[in-house]
């Protein structure tokens, strides 16, 4: 009995001692509970037959019925396929372009590097809405730069916004365009942080530029590349809503190649008001994303301990 009392007193004292810090963090803790933890009830939402009028607690349980709707939904399959394929290409091409740019920046040791960095970083600052306007300036049927060029060479303009088959190329270009610069600068910063003596030693040993890049530069940023990749793999079921919604002008003609899970969920929620399907898809996204992060991290840790995320 006495032991319990001492234990209790100790924890009271501990609570009192840490109270000032707890109070300092309290607003943030409350924010996290309301806006991050309360929405987690969404993970049980797909198992309910949600009715706006009845609310969350009033609505009845319905087991896996919402998931059954997903089983033979061709549109959803297309959206899932698109999301995964696009993200796959984004990850690989994104790494390739940004690492190349970082290595090039690193090879130059003069004042122009700063200017290049600033320019390459610019696309990072603007929203997808503005990118969509720029894309429109290139792809507009009547006034777009590309069609004007085609006409100049005697060809006939293409209706880009009604033909889905061109869009994978446009989407991938836009995504790489917007993100490679900031990532390149990130990799460049971490290259600058590596031990200079390694590069000098390589030079003394007579290693060529290419050899130095392959054997020293790339390995020295390997762990940060892997880390960024794990994070992206965890988000492979999440598409960039802004990119796909704005760039395509949300045109239904383009859905076959540009519809992704997020735009699909948004449509079924806002346009159709279908809570069942959208919450079921959200559930699967969250669970698969979590499993993927854990799995990738596990594999990476087995292969190369230093590169793992946690």
């Amino acid at each position: 009995m006495n032991g319990k009392k001492i234990k209790f007193q100790r924890s009271v004292r501990r609570f009192k001692n840490s109270l000032p810090l707890t109070l300092l963090a309290l607003p943030a803790i409350i924010y996290f509970i309301i806006f991050k933890y309360v929405p987690l009830y969404g993970l049980v939402l797909p198992f309910k037959d949600y009715k706006f009028s009845k609310g969350f607690f009033g609505s009845e349980w319905c087991g896996f019925r919402n998931f059954e709707f997903l089983a033979d939904n061709t549109q959803l399959y297309i959206a899932i396929r698109n999301t995964i394929l696009y993200n796959f290409v984004f990850i690989i091409l994104g790494i390739f372009v940004s690492v190349t740019a970082a290595l090039l920046l690193f090879e130059l040791k003069n004042k122009y590097v700063k200017l290049y960095q600033t320019i390459l970083y610019l696309p990072f600052y603007i929203s997808w809405v503005v990118v969509a306007y720029a894309a429109r300036a290139f792809l507009d049927m009547d006034y777009g730069l590309i069609n004007k060029l085609i006409e100049m060479f005697g060809g006939e303009g293409v209706l880009w916004y009604s033909n889905p088959s061109y869009w994978p190329a446009f989407i991938i270009t836009a995504n790489v365009w917007k993100s490679f610069g900031s990532n390149a600068v990130l990799y460049y910063a971490s290259l600058m942080g590596t031990d200079k003596s390694l590069f000098e030693a390589a030079k003394i040993d007579g290693a060529g530029k290419l050899q130095t890049i392959i054997h020293i530069s790339i390995p020295s940023i390997k762990s940060i590349i892997v880390m960024m990749t794990i994070l992206s793999i965890g988000k492979i079921f999440y598409g960039d809503f802004g990119l796909f919604y704005n760039l395509t002008l949300n045109s239904s003609l383009l859905y076959p190649t540009t519809d992704i899970i997020d735009t699909y969920v948004y449509r079924s929620l806002v346009k159709l008001g279908d809570m069942g399907i959208s919450s079921a898809v959200g559930f699967l996204q969250s669970v698969f994303g979590f499993v993927l992060v854990l799995a990738t991290n596990f594999i990476v840790r087995r292969v190369e301990e230093d590169c793992s995320l946690f």
Partner: protein
């Protein structure tokens, strides 16, 4: 084996450097051109634009797009005002919440440190998704169509909190210890000692929040119904999509549509774009080092 002289090394280096420059110049042009085409078209006369299309260098320089926008500036001013208010609130509130939480979990002597860290980290792994957040904001908190719907959802996130934590971990604990011995309270320590010491951290995350709030259009899409309460980026987006709808509708319908006269001309659309993105593009490059710093810290295991 081939023996290389110092001279051939130099020449090889030189050639390599030129190739590097060349590729970087091409990449830079690719990055800049879309901006130039927006800027150029916004200064093109409408009549010329219809003939030559969007171009980076205007054939007939004209300010008509800007003057036409500023002759009816109400919508833009409204949107600017909303964006400015929500940006200030998001940045200030976000910094306060994220820094205090990050500070507390960076303190090794805080008893609930590991529990609270887990509490933050967990939100990175799981989220409820769009639907429950939407119900939370619109039904339970009844924030629909208010400025709070633009501010609150994106106020604080685990990623920034952990960035703050990593920043604060670099501050020597002895500093806090000695302040405590001198009788300073936790609040005083945080506001008087920690904050002045970590200005770069605050600048960095503040800029991230600012950028995110300025470029936000998604919150307006989900939660705002009144036209005068939308953010700038959303206004821009809705202009484009409305034009698209008008273009696809049949002419008979258009006749009865009173909004028709308000379709901005081609150059005015681009000018809107310049007005919406311009401030950020002019100011932010000066603060680029903070962004780089933030991204570097954020990717370090904490």
């Amino acid at each position: 084996m081939k023996k290389r002289t110092a001279q051939s090394y130099d020449r090889e280096d030189r050639r390599f450097e030129i190739v590097c420059h060349l590729i970087l110049i091409i990449l830079s042009v690719c990055c800049l051109y879309p901006f130039l085409i927006i800027l150029g078209s916004s200064f093109e006369a409408q009549k010329q634009l219809v003939i030559t299309g969007y171009r980076a260098i205007p054939v007939k320089f004209s300010l008509e797009a800007y003057s036409s926008i500023f002759s009816y500036p109400e919508r833009i001013f409204d949107a600017y005002k909303i964006t400015a208010i929500s940006t200030v609130l998001t940045t200030a509130g976000g910094i306060y919440l994220e820094s205090t939480l990050g500070y507390v979990i960076s303190r090794k002597d805080y008893s609930y440190r590991s529990g609270l860290s887990m509490f933050v980290f967990f939100t990175m792994l799981f989220n409820g998704g769009l639907v429950p957040s939407y119900i939370l904001i619109s039904r339970w908190l009844e924030l629909k169509d208010t400025i709070w719907a633009l501010v609150l959802p994106g106020l604080a996130g685990a990623w920034h909190v952990l960035m703050f934590k990593t920043f604060f971990m670099a501050i020597p604990p002895a500093l806090i210890e000695s302040a405590k011995i001198d009788g300073a309270k936790e609040y005083t320590i945080f506001f008087r000692i920690i904050i002045p010491l970590s200005k770069p951290a605050f600048a960095c995350i503040g800029l991230f929040l600012l950028l995110q709030a300025w470029n936000d259009w998604y919150s307006s899409l989900l939660y705002i119904e009144t036209e005068s309460k939308v953010q700038l980026q959303y206004l821009l987006m809705s202009i484009m999509q409305n034009i698209e709808k008008l273009n696809n509708a049949d002419p008979a319908q258009l006749g009865i549509n009173a909004g028709m006269q308000n379709i901005p001309s081609l150059n005015a659309r681009m000018a809107m774009c310049v007005i919406a993105a311009g401030p950020i593009l002019v100011i932010f490059p000066f603060f680029q080092k903070y962004f780089v710093k933030g991204l570097t810290v954020g990717s370090v295991k904490g």
